[in-house]
Amino acid sequence: MKALRSSVAGSLESSDVLVSVSPRDDGNIEISVESIVFRQFGPRIRSVAEEAAAASGIEGATVAVNDRGALECTLRARLETAFERATEAR
């Protein structure tokens, strides 16, 4: 499933995360992670984002995760929503 448009989900409030998705033509998934708890959870956040991207079946997207200390369930929900919004037909 191809990313059709840019989307965002979440916020930059404390304990939340802002996920931004934008389409790319080469079919790859590029994920970038910023986090206030990067030192401890950076790799974990990245793997959650990779899993969520795979589960969504999305193809060709740049995914920017800006984490403000979100719980993992919040992170998953934000990723899911961002992918849904990116692939929704208008």
Partner: protein, 469 residues
């Protein structure tokens, strides 16, 4: 979107971006939320309590001289939310919000997010400040939140403890009064620590009059008590100051300083115990008050730089006046300047107390870290001051030979290990006898030691959990 809480938070974020866009230029948007788990912040009692937190945050901006231009409070699906429009830059506003979070009794329960008109948030990391600490354990809060380190019932206990504390607290809460009281406590403690430390060659300690025939430790205790109310007066002057040029603070400070001097002389029966200290700690208390109003934590160096701004040009002005005075009416400091060009404590203050920030304070902190007692670390810091400062008390009484001896002996004893070795301690006692006999009293260094301790107490580097109980 399945989770209504997440949806509400996203909605709030969009609202914040809209509100930020509508901000007048140069102003900022503060968003208040409760810092506790959702099941707690959604409880009925917290609706009213959050309103009180919102009110307190608003009052705190007002007290700092940023009266909010607009405010809003409502109960959202994610819990209570407050909004304030403050007409100042986002960084300045964030500093004030952090001061609320850190120092208001309700602050630990509040999250004060700040956004500028372009929709960018300014966080602690943007101000190079350490991350916010956990309410319970003092670790970075985001780590505990993410790992759900603390069981909900423990968080609730902490939150209730804080709230009950607020209910029982005296009101209205005033940041200015809290800040000036804290600054004053540091000054008062520093004064007494300095007096109690021993052995201090040539100086008064609890068991020795040093080179002084006319005063003892109890004279210092009397003097200290008489000055206790004055440190807060100086700090408040600093807090209330609103101008651009801190030098304008000096005339009112000098006026209050003279009143403090009068109180000291009354208490000591006319003996000068702390005149120099009233000057040094007086301007530092005012500088601290000035910085505290801005909100963010500050370093000893920033405090000293602010103090230097208050006294900028004071040496030149005072000494120009001294040149026109009758010799007999000159103070010791003025006479030394006229005769030798020595600027003494005025020069030290104008330069921002470099003897303290560059030498004595690093030594004190280093020694404390190594496990020395406060007493021993203070004596070593005093020896460092012997070697780096121009002590006008010594110059006035014993001339430049005395000043040279002071530097030489200080360096020798430090090289012998100071209070860390038996040799150093023996040398200190021998020097005490020598200075006592030759009536050499490094009172200027003693004042700078009190300044060192003041800054050490005022600017703690390491802070534990927000609710230590």
């Amino acid at each position: 979107m399945i989770n209504p809480l997440l949806e509400a938070r996203e909605e709030r974020w969009r609202k914040r971006l809209r509100e930020a866009e509508a901000l007048p230029p140069g102003s900022s948007l503060v968003t208040l939320t409760l810092r506790m788990p959702a099941p707690l912040r959604l409880r009925e009692e917290w609706a009213q309590r959050a309103r009180e937190v919102h009110r307190a945050l608003l009052d705190s901006f007002e007290e700092r001289g940023f009266p909010p231009g607009g405010e809003e409070f409502h109960l959202g699906a994610d819990g209570p939310e407050g909004y304030l429009v403050v007409s100042a830059g986002a960084e300045e506003v964030k500093k004030a919000a952090i001061a609320f979070e850190e120092h208001h009794p309700l602050g630990p329960l509040a999250d004060g997010d700040v956004m500028n008109p372009s929709g960018q948030t300014v966080g602690r990391e943007d101000l190079s400040l350490p991350p916010r600490r956990c309410l319970l354990c003092g670790r970075p809060a985001a780590e505990c939140t993410r790992e759900r380190t603390h069981p909900p019932e423990e968080i609730e206990k902490s939150v209730e403890f804080l709230w009950k504390g607020w209910e029982g607290a005296e009101k209205p809460f005033s940041f200015r009064e809290e800040s000036s009281a804290r600054i004053a406590r540091c000054a008062d403690t520093a004064l007494h620590f300095e007096a109690a430390a021993r052995p201090k060659p040539g100086l008064v300690d609890p068991f020795s009059r040093g080179a002084h025939g006319d005063m003892d430790y109890f004279t210092f205790l009397r003097s200290g008590s008489s000055l206790a109310p004055w440190w807060g007066v100086f700090a408040r002057l600093g807090w209330n100051f609103r101008g651009d040029d801190p030098a304008a603070l000096l005339p009112p400070l000098r006026e209050e300083g003279r009143r403090a001097e009068a109180a000291m002389f009354k208490a000591t029966g006319g003996i000068n115990t702390h005149k120099g200290l009233i000057f040094s700690l007086g301007i530092l208390c005012a500088a601290s008050g000035m910085l505290e109003r801005r909100g963010a934590p500050f370093s000893p160096r920033e405090c000293c730089t602010a103090a230097a701004g208050i006294v900028r040009g004071v040496g030149e002005a005072d000494f120009a006046a001294a040149r026109r005075k009758e010799r007999g009416s000159l103070t010791a400091g003025e006479r030394l300047f006229v005769d030798f060009g020595v600027t003494g404590i005025r020069g030290e203050a104008e330069k921002g107390f470099p003897s303290v920030t560059d030498h004595a304070l690093p030594r004190l902190k280093g020694d404390l870290e190594e496990g020395l007692t406060m007493n021993d670390a203070m004596v070593n810091a005093l020896l460092v001051l012997f070697t780096v400062s121009e002590d006008t008390n010594v110059l006035a009484r014993c001339g430049s030979d005395g000043a040279t001896l002071l530097k030489k002996k200080g360096a020798e004893i430090l090289a012998a290990g100071g209070m860390k070795t038996q040799g150093g301690r023996d040398a200190l006692h021998a020097l005490d006898c020598l200075f006592t006999e030759s009536r050499l009293s490094p009172g200027g260094c003693a004042d700078l030691l009190a300044v060192t301790v003041f800054l050490h107490l005022l600017c703690p580097e390491d802070t534990g959990p927000e609710v230590p109980y």
